[in-house]
Amino acid sequence: MTPPTTPLLSIADLRTYFRTDEGIARAVDGVSFHIGARETVGLVGESGCGKSVTSLSILRLITRPGRIEEGSRIEFDGRDLMALPDGEMRRIRGNRISMIFQEPMSALNPVFTVGDQIAEVARVHDGASRRDAWARAVEMMRVTGIADPADRAHQYPHQLSGGMRQRVMIAMALVMSPALLIADEPTTALDVTIQAQILELLAELQGRVGMAILLITHDLGVIAEVASRVIVMYAGEVVEEAPVGELFAAAHHPYTEGLLAAMPRLGRERDRLAVIPGTVPPPTRWPAGCRFHDRCPYAWQRCVEEHPPIYRIGPAHVSRCHLAEEPERRVQRAPPERE
């Protein structure tokens, strides 16, 4: 999975900081990655590691007290999104880049019918008439597998099931056939059986529309099913990036190792799931050195003192861990003392 020559989206040194009473929260702190056309990339990490802020930054939807810092670069389809005037940026949102959210119940407006909300996208971007926009909304609902779309379109979000609401969100996002779909935890709020259906639907529509997907999740199982490449984030940084097979077979970063070990798997006899000790530190106080060192089973003095750069592990595999230079240190020591 070598990077395509001209990526659809490329992000370089993205820094999104929030000025809070507790200090500057560096929610996204120097993130770089790219997504090729029609590619599906998974972005994983625990809550609070900066995944969602990254996705909102791509659409420039960060509002006070947050700000995308000077020097961050976001290029999409050959255009510098950071330099676009607001009006131009608005024409990209929902049109060339769409987003779906984790909890469709709160991402849908409770006072509109779902048909109305899907139709609005066509009205905003194409200036479609009420009637045309409505027809397109019903058609999109049919495409996303909602039975009786003409009737369902007249219903309000609370009248639909969770799975159907997520289908509505997907319909809204795809009205304009975007080149990139950002899916922020699209299946987290759903039952397992529905999750599978939604993932299948996304894969099918990706083929039909020909779009790239940035799939944000904390669930590596979901990544394994649909993504071709995985980016792992921790504490506002990319800590590892690899093709999906390579990541599962030979994760390099201890954090990724921990995430994989924490996955429940069939056929593996175990009383308890492994957990990564501790939690993501608050973004106002990232630890010095390697940001993962106080939770890392291998950490040594260098990790406390020196912030690791991105090391290249393989042709398409990078890791932000000193183990790349000192692989002999990968020996489990006693778990760190924790209160």
Binding site: R64, G94, S98, F101, S106, L108, N109, G115, D116
Partner: protein, 312 residues
């Protein structure tokens, strides 16, 4: 009969009733505002209240045609006549003026001032509050601190000061002043609702789909934020009627002998025990009017909340 009174009183309330009824047959997917009207029509209580307000307004507007006496006509043979006396259905006051006729004429000022000034104050309050809440940050701080300063001055004092300085006491002045001093509370509530709704996911999602600011605010946030403003507006109508009565008593506002519901009550001050009808009838009218507007307000608020629709 001056046509302007018909225009001011009857047309808006009639429009409300007609709109409520007409929208019953309209398409269901025409947006949240249309749906609000549709659901109001199914709400018999608020429809009845709207009809009641329309009737009051029509009677007030047509008072010169309908009333048996001029409002300032003094019947020297029937001072302090009881209700149901042969010539005066609701009795007369200390000067022998027919109470029913005065109530009909008084309704013009009271209803017009109340409806127009509340319309004005609600509009100003919603726009001001929504702007502050939507843009937040420094805009919000400046707008809200200004509002705090304005709120800290008691409304009656503010009105008295302006009236005294302006020296102009027409109905227009009354409407303007009542309207421009009545929006502070509404504005705070709308601002609170809007600033709570702005970071909600559906507002972010609307922006993520490329909706411009104005559309996000008008279509996505305001329908979710207006309930308290509507309730406040319906209560505001009663406040204005009563405030206008107080101002009349202090020599501002509606000048005697022109009647308003408020100054009819003020005229009866001190003689309640033998001449109860002079205060009870206008009082009852004010209560009924306030109640009717509250019912319309409640109905509106419910109609704006689709979460009350049944699940399928």
């Amino acid at each position: 009969m001056r046509p302007s009174w018909v225009a001011i009183l009857v047309l808006p309330s009639a429009a409300l009733v007609v709109a409520i009824r007409a929208s019953a047959n309209s398409a269901a997917h025409a947006g949240p505002w249309r749906r609000v009207l549709e659901r109001l029509t199914r709400d018999r209580a608020s429809l009845a209240a709207a009809w009641f307000v329309l009737a009051l307004c029509a009677i007030a507007a047509l008072a010169p045609r309908l009333a048996l006496y001029a409002p300032d006509y003094q019947d020297a043979d029937a001072l302090n006549a009881h209700p149901l006396s042969p010539t005066h259905a609701l009795g007369t006051d200390l000067l022998g003026r027919d109470l029913l006729s005065r109530l009909m004429h008084g309704g013009r000022v009271s209803l017009a001032v109340a409806m127009l000034s509340v319309l004005l104050s609600t509009t100003v309050g919603v726009v001001y509050g929504a702007t502050a809440g939507f843009y937040g940050g420094r805009v919000d701080s400046i707008m809200m601190r200004t509002l705090d300063a304005a709120i800290s001055v008691p409304r009656v004092l503010l009105l008295l000061a302006v009236f005294a300085l302006w020296g102009h006491q027409s109905i227009t002045a009354l409407v303007l002043l009542m309207g421009l001093t009545g929006w502070f509370g509404i504005s705070r509530q709308v601002r609170a609702q809007v600033s709570a709704a702005r970071p909600r996911e559906y507002a972010v999602a609307a922006r993520a789909l490329g909706a411009p600011d104005a559309r996000v605010l008008w279509r996505h946030i305001l329908p979710n934020a207006l309930s308290p403003a509507i309730v406040a507006a319906s209560l505001g109508i009663g406040n204005v009627i009563i405030l206008e009565a107080g101002l009349s008593y202090l020599g501002f506002g509606v000048q005697p002998p022109r009647p308003s519901w408020g100054n009819i009550i003020q005229d009866s001050g001190g003689v309640l025990s033998p001449f109860w009808w002079m205060a009870i009838f206008p009082g009852a009218l004010i209560v009924a009017t306030v109640l009717a507007f509250n019912m319309i307000g409640d109905g509106l608020r419910d109609a704006m909340d689709p979460r009350q629709l049944p699940r399928s």
